[in-house]
């Protein structure tokens, strides 16, 4: 791009990733203001979500001490809401890494203001996800049996099963996401340390900033390591949900035993993740007055991502149904052509189609892609749609499989639903704490972006 073209581009409001060119100090103060001067709404919100979290803990305690018989699942529907919620949460986690790692490697400037935010979302979503398989073990205190350690029993985990793969995939994902998030956070914690108004805050953030000084040598290693972590996290975006999908794909149930699952799951995960980013981002942007750093350009790009991934999901639904018909297999045909669209859970199926396939089509219009109300409602619909997708996929395949005599209707119990609502509270609680105590828009990265844009404005030279 020539100098004139690029300077014309960066001053246009609808394409700009950073409105105005504030000074370094002004930008810093704006971004760390939520930490230094929290709004009054935080306390009541923390109390409400904190109460919800305590409620979750009591439900968990009840399930752990009573047994998972209090859930609605039983043979033949052995996996139900526990797994639906697990897949839903872990899917949401994918957008964080997609934004922070893949878009970093692709040098997309619109990633910078929203990456920390979505990484935080990822971490807390994966924490919720992890709870469900842990409880599903039935005796969660024996979780360490999944780790290959030399025990007196003389047995080892069965590595040919997809379930140990899942354990490794999810725990690796959580660890790597955390490391990536924290490494990005270190210079910004140092910013708060240096701007702190009280000694206590200075000390606490000083400890968490690990003594960061920001010398040119430090930055050199840092930026290479950060880039490298992005390279390492990128295949994780694709592998984690692929491995989750193998939990289903390597079984032989109609509706599960399908080779399209890994890419289908990954696209769905990124789809739901971007929807959740919008659900969280739109209110935060408004409350913290971040319109100049999270601009119309960001919303527009996220909406386009929703369209792309929404279409991949729609295509996958179509292919699943086509292959079921084309295979000539009666059981496959029954699940896809009869049970899902017209069976007892047909309503849920049609909600899924309406939410996941129709909602993103409004984003063909540019006006809709930047209208925050429309985006917010659409994001909620997609979140619901993706939850119903996992429900349809997991439950309907098991409730009516090969033998008519073993067919059985599944109904979730109040414990199932309480657990799900509890994790929503816990997630919001953790996310609020994150907004309260951590600079959730990356400060040093945004200043670096400003410097890059400044160079661009002036035609490519510092």
């Amino acid at each position: 791009m020539t100098a004139t073209l690029s300077s014309a581009a960066v001053t246009r409001e609808d394409t700009d990733v950073l409105l105005g060119r504030p000074t370094d100090a002004a930008l810093t103060d704006q971004l760390i203001a939520p930490v230094l001067r929290p709004g009054r709404a935080f306390k009541p919100l923390l109390i409400v979500t904190g109460a919800g979290t305590l409620f979750l803990f009591s439900v968990v305690l009840y399930v752990a001490t009573t047994g998972i018989g209090v859930w609605g699942n039983n043979i033949p529907v052995a996996w139900a809401l526990g797994i639906v919620d697990f897949v839903w949460w872990i899917g949401i986690g994918h957008a964080g890494t997609f934004i922070s790692a893949i878009l970093l490697l692709l040098e997309q400037k619109w990633r910078t203001s929203i990456n920390r935010f979505s990484e935080g979302m990822t971490l807390f979503a994966v924490v919720q996800a992890g709870l469900f398989p842990l409880l599903h073990l039935g005796r969660p205190w024996f979780f360490y049996w999944l780790i290959p350690y030399p025990s007196t029993m003389g047995v080892w985990p069965q590595f040919r099963s997809a379930l140990p793969w899942d354990v490794v995939a999810v725990s690796t994902y959580l660890t790597v996401s955390f490391l990536f998030w924290y490494l990005g956070l270190v210079p910004d914690l140092a910013v708060i340390r240096d701007r702190a108004t009280t000694l206590r805050r200075r000390r606490v953030y000083g400890v968490f900033a690990l003594g960061w000084r920001g010398s040119a040598h430090d930055w050199h290693h840092y930026r290479i390591a950060y880039w490298l972590l992005a390279v390492l996290a990128t295949p994780l975006v694709l592998s984690v949900h692929s491995i989750v999908s193998m939990d289903f794909a390597i079984s032989q149930l109609p509706g599960w035993h399908s080779t399209i699952f890994p890419p289908f799951f990954v696209a769905g995960a990124i789809y739901s993740g971007f929807a959740m980013v919008l659900t969280l981002l739109i209110p935060s942007r408004k409350i913290f007055h971040l319109e100049n750093v999270v601009t119309a350009r960001h919303l527009d790009s996220i909406a386009k991502m929703l369209m792309v991934t929404g279409w991949i999901v729609t295509y996958s639904y179509a292919i699943e149904i086509f292959i079921a018909w084309y295979s000539g297999n009666g059981f496959e045909r029954y699940v896809h052509l009869v049970n899902r669209p017209t069976g007892p859970y047909a309503a849920v199926f049609w909600v899924m189609i309406a939410c996941n396939c129709c909602t993103p089509q409004i984003f063909w219009a540019k006006k809709m892609r930047t209208n925050t109300t429309v985006l917010f409602i659409a994001s909620i619909l997609i979140n619901i749609g993706m939850w119903t997708e996992r429900f349809i996929l997991i439950v309907t395949s098991q409730m009516r499989d090969f033998l008519t005599s073993s067919w059985h209707m599944y109904k979730p119990t109040y414990v199932d639903l309480s657990l799900f609502l509890g994790t929503l509270s816990f997630f919001s609680f953790l996310f609020l704490l994150f907004l309260r105590f951590v600079p959730f828009i990356p400060v040093s990265e945004l200043k670096e972006l400003k410097f890059e844009l400044h160079k661009e404005d002036r035609g490519g030279h510092a």
Binding site: T23, D24, A25, T28, P148, G154, W156, P157, Q158, F159, R160, W165, V168, A169, T172, T175, V176, L179, F180, Y182, L183, V186, P187, A190, V191, R193, D194, R195, G206, L210, G211, W212, R213, G214, S215, A216, H217, D218, W219, H220, H221, Y222, R223, I224, A225, Y226, L228, L229, L232, A233, P235, L236, S239, I243, M246, S444, E445, K447, F451, A462
Partner: protein
Amino acid sequence: MRDMKLGIMAEFESPEALLLAVSKLREMGLRKLDAYTPYPIREIEPLLEIKRSYIPKVVLAMGLVGAAGAYTLQWWCAAVSYPLNVGGRPLHSAPAFIPITFETTVLFAAGTCFLLALYAAGLPRLHHPVFEVEGFESASIDGYWVAIAADDPKLDALVAERELIGAGATRVVQVNP
């Protein structure tokens, strides 16, 4: 430069001013220099003769260690220590061992990468002499600092100070005078 003994430090208002000042100091023959900035400025790396980071090589090696370790562990568990015949399928069932091998590769590599990034920057530590420098808090906000080592053979404190002020420094500090 890690743990150099600080001689003179100066603060500038913009990255451009810092880059000019560093070039000027280099023209004076000074070589033991460092810069402190709120974000990475790539243009300064050749001026400070920063060598390419060793992190990627170590990360690759540790990734391979993770891969070999995970594969060996699975093979040993499934084929040697506790062989389980499932319908006559091979005990050493390589394709089934790939997902965990892959994940462990990433885990080892990422862990190494994180720890090395901290180690290379001399972290974690609770204190550092540079924090004693007056006004250094700005180095993470909007101050672009240059540091000259006390033991640079070409350092003449008075000349350097004059040059730094001439280059537009908003603050010049003599550390441990």
